[in-house]
């Protein structure tokens, strides 16, 4: 009996290869669920019904020949900033509302080579600027655990789709926490790979020194399977890591068990029961043989400030290409200056305009030294804090977020929204990998809301993150965990 609530990629692989059901049947179940429930939850901006059915049939042919790859026939959702050739991709923005991708992203290409089924494109904050999907030009997505609350962002649609059983897994992108924070809010696993581990070719760029595509899945093992499928050196991405074949390989059980907690950094801003829950997870890990140490990372406190200089600067540069000339929205105007100004003024939403202006300021003559170049320098010492900590511990752990999913409209002041990223942002600045694993929950107005436990590793040490993540899963058994 096919029960998508307890299904995982690993479980579906076994079932598909054992011919218990076909990819076509599985895909039809998801498409039917999306049709029944997604008008309400709005995880998807577009469902690729016809092509999904065709892809499922092609996957079934491969499965019946006993030639399946790990992800053959698996129904996956893709964030609206990852290009699929011939498909609309809009980055959650009106400026690209009807833009059709002229090529596949490398991640898309890799997944196509395994005959994955693409269910559709998921909702996101516009140009990945936001932590709730409230900045999507096409309306927000709802958190399946409490529909009065956001699913987080910017990969909120992807997280909500997986948590809501509208996709078996999803891809998102993470620039300052946009995979990990929605994963935490929705009670799913979210991985941000090492910078350079996954190609950014075909990902609509936000902050080029920060962006990584990452999987959102129900389990750590599923995260590993999807990561293995998308990672690898790509000559099209000049920041792609060469020789990253060793990422992801670790012998389960025989891994580093020294965990560092940056205690000083956790003193303020976390809701008390969230901190309590974090301590509970630490105790469970201690019982499982882990050693918990305090690590000093004195420059972590500057991470948000550095991020909100570097990221708007890079985003303002990356978004300069949207000018009404080569693609996307073009507002009729009498002259070229007005073409640019009106197209960008109308096509971009409020938060995007705000960040472009901040980015323009910090890069402008007379201010670039004080802001952008200084931020670059401080970024280096934040990175050094991580490398120093890794001299004495194998991984660093924090709560993924300072609190559970917040309500729509609750973070209307831009700065209060930015503070949501306080534990996730340092990771992107340092370029190291991090995973958020569901770990416990807290009660808010009679509803149990999930929380995430963040594990941060050394560059290319995703394998360790998966091993530790599995131990966290053992402390919090979920219905889909097989014995």
């Amino acid at each position: 009996m096919l029960d998508i609530k307890t299904l995982t990629i690993a479980g579906a692989r076994r079932d598909l290869d054992a011919k218990k059901y076909s990819s076509l049947e599985l895909t039809k179940v998801y498409l039917s669920e999306i049709e029944k429930r997604d008008t309400e939850s709005h995880s998807f901006l577009e469902v690729f019904k016809d092509s999904a059915l065709a892809e499922a049939k092609a996957a079934d042919e491969r499965i019946y020949r006993d030639e399946s790859a790990p992800l053959t026939g698996i129904p996956i959702a893709i964030k609206d900033n990852i290009l699929i050739e011939g498909r609309v991709v809009s980055a959650g923005s009106k400026i690209l509302e009807n833009y059709i991708a002229s090529y596949d992203s490398i991640c898309t290409e890799k997944l196509k080579s395994q005959n994955v089924v693409f269910l559709g494109r998921t909702n996101m904050d516009e140009f990945a600027m936001g932590s709730s999907t409230e900045n999507s030009a096409f309306g927000p997505s709802k958190n399946p655990h409490d529909t009065a609350r956001t699913p987080g962002g910017s990969s909120g649609g992807s997280a909500a789709a997986v948590a809501g059983n509208l996709a078996l897994a999803a891809l998102g992108s993470d620039t300052g926490g946009s995979v990990r924070q929605p994963a935490a809010f929705c009670g799913v696993v979210g991985l941000k790979p090492t910078y350079g581990a996954v190609s950014r070719f075909g990902l609509i760029a936000m902050g080029s020194s920060l962006d990584q595509i990452g999987p959102l899945t129900k389990t750590v093992e599923d995260s590993r399977l999807l990561f293995e499928a998308i990672r690898g050196y790509d000559p099209n991405d000049s920041t792609s890591l060469e020789n990253n074949a060793k990422s992801g390989k670790v012998i389960d059980g025989n891994h580093g068990r020294r965990l560092g907690v940056p205690r000083a950094f956790l003193k303020e801003g976390i809701q008390p029961d969230v901190l309590q829950n974090f301590e509970k997870t630490l105790s469970a890990l201690e019982k499982a043989g882990y050693e918990i140490q305090d690590v000093e990372m004195p420059n972590l406190a500057h991470s948000l400030a550095v991020y909100y200089i570097v990221m708007p600067a890079e985003a303002s540069t990356n978004l300069a290409r949207f000018d009404g000339i080569r693609y996307g929205l073009s507002v009729p105007a009498d002259n070229i200056e007005d073409t640019y100004r009106k197209t960008r003024g109308i096509g971009f939403g409020q938060e995007v305009r705000r960040r472009i202006l901040v980015g323009t300021f910090v890069l402008s003559a007379g201010y670039a030294d004080a802001y952008y170049r200084k931020a670059r320098a401080v970024r280096e010492i934040i990175k050094a804090d991580f490398m120093n900590a890794f001299n004495s511990v194998d991984a660093i752990v924090t709560p993924t977020t300072p609190g559970p999913a917040f309500k729509f409209g609750e973070k209307s002041d831009p700065l209060s929204m930015y503070l949501e990223d306080i534990f996730t942002v340092p990771v992107n600045l340092a370029g190291v990998p991090a995973i958020s694993v569901p770990a416990g929950s807290v009660l808010r107005e009679k509803v149990m809301l999930p929380l995430g436990f963040q594990i941060i590793g050394k560059p290319e040490d995703e394998g360790l993150l998966f091993s530790i993540g599995k131990d966290v899963e053992r402390a919090y058994p979920a219905p889909w965990r097989t014995a």
Binding site: S238, V306, G328, A375
Partner: protein, 97 residues
């Protein structure tokens, strides 16, 4: 740092049309964001102004693809085209206004 930011000038640099109401709103919001990020001034004294640890990655300029194979798929996204060219309004003016 002065807390007054010339948002209109920034909007011009960024080629962004901003309404009067939004300009007024941003004249409050942007200084608040800048005040928040200015905290790095305290740290920077200890950090050396870094040279970017980056290098250019280029491929060899050889083996071009067949002419025209991507033309249609790229041009099909252009808002205005003339034949095989993207149509653009006049950029350089011949006479000074």
């Amino acid at each position: 740092m002065s807390s007054k930011v010339d948002v209109a000038a920034l909007a011009k640099l960024a080629r962004l049309e901003v309404s009067k109401e939004e300009l007024h709103k941003l004249e409050n919001e942007i200084p608040a964001i800048l005040a928040f990020v200015e905290t790095i001034q305290k740290v920077s004294a200890k950090a050396p102004i870094s040279k970017a640890n980056l290098r250019n990655v280029m491929r060899e300029d050889e083996n071009p693809h067949e002419t025209g194979i991507y033309t249609e798929s790229l041009l099909s996204t252009a808002p205005a085209r003339e034949g095989d060219r993207i149509a653009v309004k006049q950029v350089i003016k011949r006479n000074k206004e």
